[in-house]
Amino acid sequence: MAVAAPQHSALAEHVHHAPKSFINRYIFTLDHKIIGLQYMITGSLFFIISGLLAELIRVQLMNSDGRFLSPEHFNELYSVHGSSMVWLVIIPLATGGFGNFVMPLMIGARDVAFPWLNALSFWMFPPAGLILFSSFLVGAPDAGWTEYPPVSLQGPPGTSMWCVAIFLIGISSTLTGINFLVTMLKMRAPGMTFTRMPLFVWAQLATAVLNMVATTALAAALLALFLERTFGIPFYDPSHGGSPVMWQHMFWFYSHPAVYIMILPAFGVISEVLPTFARKPIFGYKMIAFSSIAIALLGFMVWAHHMFTSGMTPWLVLPFMILTFIIAIPTGIKIFSWVATLWGGNIRYSSAMLFAMGFIATFTFGGVTGIFLAAVPADFQEHGTYFVVAHIHYVLFGGSVLGLLSGAYYWYPKMTGRLLNEFWGHVHFWVTFVAFNVTFLPMHWIGLLGMPRRVPVYDPQFTDWNRVASIGSFFLVLGMAIFFINVIWSIKHGKKAGPNPWNARTLEWMTSSPPPYYNFVKVPGVLHAPYEFDQPLPYVGLEPAENVVSGYKAPMPAGSH
């Protein structure tokens, strides 16, 4: 079914000269590809720092008596770890990083709708991170990434810095959401109707809507918390008439859609990687596209499933529970469609493919434990325990991170012109996959048996499994170290990739690696969705990619001014 196709675009012919100075080309660049790389580098740095914080947590928890760190320091560690991973790593990498680099290329655009705004969004990101991490100097936030009042009203000065930092990155996210949404709605290549869009673009479309609508709700909650901490304006403190549960409503109204912001782009990656390496179309394209939108919409209606024990109006748990169960259905459709994509394939085991398949295993498990959490009576046992910590990490690490790593192996050649080393990619995968499960699987168990979360000490009966988890986490670090060394080494020494090393069919592969600053010599017309491997490429008017000069050296395309 083709919806009215985007027409011939005057904007697409309007190609600017490349900026001349180094600063304008690579630092204060307006090029979505370089901005995407800036996000990836910054996000990766925060990932490493935040991961090391987690390692300190795991070292502490090897023993039940809290002998390593003071409780105050420990509480700061997991609070900054969680906040950083959500707001400084996964959301920026998934949207600002991969979304920025890949999405405009995939829709045949020359850039995003508002390149200056794009750069502004990025430049809010490092300061936000600096503010958050410098809070360690004055007492970092210590009440978890959720900072529930009234205890967060008592928190150290870092809690206020947390409000500011997250507010700032929130503005960045909202602007990115608006930017991407306009780009995908208005700047697709001629002929690219919605049903000819690649699934990664569908995923980014759903994500952009969430980003744009939900993030300002968080801004409101943070502003109120900041005002109360700083000026005593009574929103949340019950001794002044405020309501602690109200914070939870306001916070989770954003933060539940936020988890879909974190997972949908990873879903999009999987939907691209699986067909490419199985050499066959994605199974159930329309249902996968539709389910992304369904998940995004339903995602706005389930926030209070984080609040089943909060003391909110009792019967309210029921509609939130039912709606949460309902989200399982489009999610299940996706998972089954991905597995069915493998059936009948001619599978090549690149590192990207391994991570995509590993994702399916771990994310599905996370989805199943999500059902356990959605069932209110079961949640009465699970809430606030390590069961939740386990669930979070199965969907965020086993889901988002593995998905983004698959994307990294997949698109690194497009970004750099070189391939990541495949042998070390396989090592990275197996070390990570095994270590991940060793680390997080036991946490379900000890959570159910009685270990709460956010504790620097615990009942000695849980010591053995905590030690297993900690040892697993050390190997996770090893795996990620292998990855980052591979990334750095391959920039100079990786095998040269050429325009389309994976023989894929989406538009980003139809130009050089890395692409010229204007992306395409001529914006092609699109005839069909890009998943028919036994057909000729569904594009008209493409300059053969081998003829395209990459990077900023590329000459202006003919006919532009």
Partner: protein, 365 residues
């Protein structure tokens, strides 16, 4: 033009044997799920814990099916549909876009399952929400960082220990004095947050005698991890005896000077040890400034040298001996509750060290 490497006849080599194998694995795992009582791993101390355990088993039963089949087919397809070395580089997979029947079933069956899970969960929720209670009513009040419990007929709350009689439908009203805490006993399978300004309620009927941990399940400050109370389920007679004893103790509680606790020798105290202890155990609630520099409790910087406050908050004189006494016994007043030495994990030597340290601070050292 690139070609499909395999034909579309059938569902692929070994599909049905693998499907049957996965069914066998599922059956074996689910057999153990069904026959193994949850109490093998964690006791059930009160109803409706048994109902929740049945729900867990139900969820696990279907979770196993989903995981075994999803991961099973993932691995199996991943092996069987690999590109063979003999395939040409441009070999393709079978160019299939979807299958309406299959997609219909994998939408309809999960929907039915979700409806079933939803139905049972609503039923179980109602079983919890409308559970019998009320024959006995107790208040559980969380504070930073402990619990205290109010029983009908007792004037003062009882710290740390919630005693409940076996078999009596009980309502527990949960609240907090300061920040949000979480009231949770794993063996009861129920938790509710203790929220300041609100009262949350659970109804349970204790079914098994024993001593269980009450774990704080909502971050509440620096010592959240240390905030553990005791749930003691005992026969009715023992419970009545407990209440009587508490009545007696409260009626005959010593008023006035706390006095030096037995076993505390102030002469052995060292200020440096006391300083470390203060930072670790006391500084969350007490500053070293003047009395008025309250965090939770009063500032202790001038405790022995403040003409405006010649008495401690419990009415005893502001002397080292009585300071040792109040640390030992704890105190509940209108600023909140200071846990006793046992709850704080303070030995007699620790008390001595703290008092000697505070003496030095009062003198300006």
């Amino acid at each position: 033009m690139a070609q499909q490497a395999r034909s579309t006849r059938g569902l692929g080599p070994g599909f049905w044997p693998v499907t049957i194998l996965l069914a066998v694995i599922t059956a074996v795992c689910d057999y153990y799920v069904v026959v193994t009582p949850v109490t093998t791993f964690l006791r059930e101390a009160a109803s409706p814990a048994d109902q929740t355990d049945e729900l867990f088993k139900f969820l696990t039963f279907f979770g196993v099916i989903v995981m075994v089949y999803t991961v099973g087919y993932l691995v199996y397809f991943g092996i069987v549909w690999r590109k063979k070395k003999s395939d040409p580089e441009d070999a393709l997979g079978i160019q299939v876009h979807g299958n309406f029947q299959l997609e219909l079933w994998w939408t309809v069956l999960p929907t039915i399952l979700v409806i079933a899970i939803g139905w049972i969960s609503v039923k179980d929720w109602a079983g919890i929400f409308y559970a019998q209670g009320g024959q006995l009513a107790v208040e559980a009040i969380g504070y930073q960082f402990g619990w205290e419990f109010r029983y009908q007929g007792l004037q003062n709350p009882v710290p740390d220990e919630l005693h409940l009689p076996l078999g009596v439908p009980t309502t527990i009203h949960i609240s907090s004095r300061d920040v949000i805490h979480g009231f949770w006993t794993p063996e009861v399978r129920l938790k509710q947050d203790a929220v300041p300004g609100l009262v949350t309620t659970i109804h349970i009927t204790p079914t098994e005698v024993g001593t269980y941990r009450i774990v704080c399940s909502e971050y509440c400050g620096a010592r959240h991890g240390y905030m553990v109370g005791k749930l003691i389920i005992e026969p009715k007679e023992t419970f009545t005896a407990f209440l009587d004893k508490q009545k007696y103790l409260q009626a005959h509680a010593p008023k006035g000077p706390s006095g030096l606790p037995p076993g505390v020798n102030l002469a052995n105290g060292t200020a440096s040890a006391g300083q470390a202890l203060f930072a670790q155990k006391c500084s969350a609630c007490h500053s070293l400034g003047a009395f008025s520099q309250k965090l939770v409790g009063p500032g202790l910087g001038k405790i022995f040298a403040d003409p405006d406050h010649p008495k401690l908050v419990d009415g005893a004189a502001a002397t080292p001996e009585d300071a040792a006494g109040i640390i030992n016994s704890g105190f509940t007043g209108d600023m909140g509750t200071m846990p006793n030495a046992k709850t704080n994990g303070l030995s007699n030597d620790d008390i001595a060290n703290l008092v000697v340290y505070l003496e030095g601070v009062s003198k300006g050292q």
